[in-house]
Symmetry: C2
Subunit: 175 residues, 2 copies
Amino acid sequence: MEVGQAIRLKRAVREFDAEPLLEQALRAILNAGRRAQSAKNRQAWHFIVLRNRQTLVELAKLGNYASHLSGAAAAIGILTPNPDERWSIMFDAGQAAAYMQLAAWDLGIASCPATIYQTEQARQLLGFPADLHLRVVFSFGYPADPGVLTAPPRPGGRKPLSQLVSFERWQDPLP
Amino acid sequence: MEVGQAIRLKRAVREFDAEPLLEQALRAILNAGRRAQSAKNRQAWHFIVLRNRQTLVELAKLGNYASHLSGAAAAIGILTPNPDERWSIMFDAGQAAAYMQLAAWDLGIASCPATIYQTEQARQLLGFPADLHLRVVFSFGYPADPGVLTAPPRPGGRKPLSQLVSFERWQDPLP
């Protein structure tokens, strides 16, 4: 799929088909995340892949609006150093997340982020060390409704450029 | 360009051709940023486009390793609410930044991030209000060496998957 088309059509999907993700697809998604840019090339991220149903069901209870995790074919959690240490930690995690979502979409695989609120329970569930933190986990899977993969963007889903772009000085319009 | 190819080949470029970016290209890049996902669809970002050479030269002095801004065909600063308010602010900014960089690369336009350290001077230079913050600005331009657009990734530029992926539990390997 062309870059422009993937960026235009990719949308969050919360309902997934039961079809599992093959290892090849998972690796393609993870490799995209690995390729993302990071401040000073630190690559201060670790990806934890979850396919075990019981784990996904437990994790879905550790955030609000995270229930889609329980029905995902797989999930990828992005472990990072403490996000409060410097702003670039979550900026870089966001870059890796964007790459993973686009690489998945390119394979017909949809995704949705979930914020983890009970972070200590997540640590116990997944066993990662105290110097790493889990704030966000992405569900992945083939969409229950394959039509979403080619549906045009929802009207009004994003603010128009005129509301969010300045040119040279604050609030001067684009030429 | 295919999504997978753009993700694999996109690299940071600091030296740019003098050729300006046409408005159509700038709008394609900005529209990609606008399409990125954000927590609760807040779209808590504002993009400030800079082409004025004097502004770029001044801005290049406001960060370390930011000198590439002075030679960029254009730059886009990502204004956000206070990054300390919640981790999702810079995570979402990172998602928008990744989309903009890939959309640019698809057009043969390279980019490089610059961190702004003298944030108050940047505010005075660009005139944005006190509730917005500028931490990162991206240079954009046609690369001085067009060969970078098709060069294979540098060996060792990224950690291998085996070092940064766990499966089901911390440090259990992928199957």
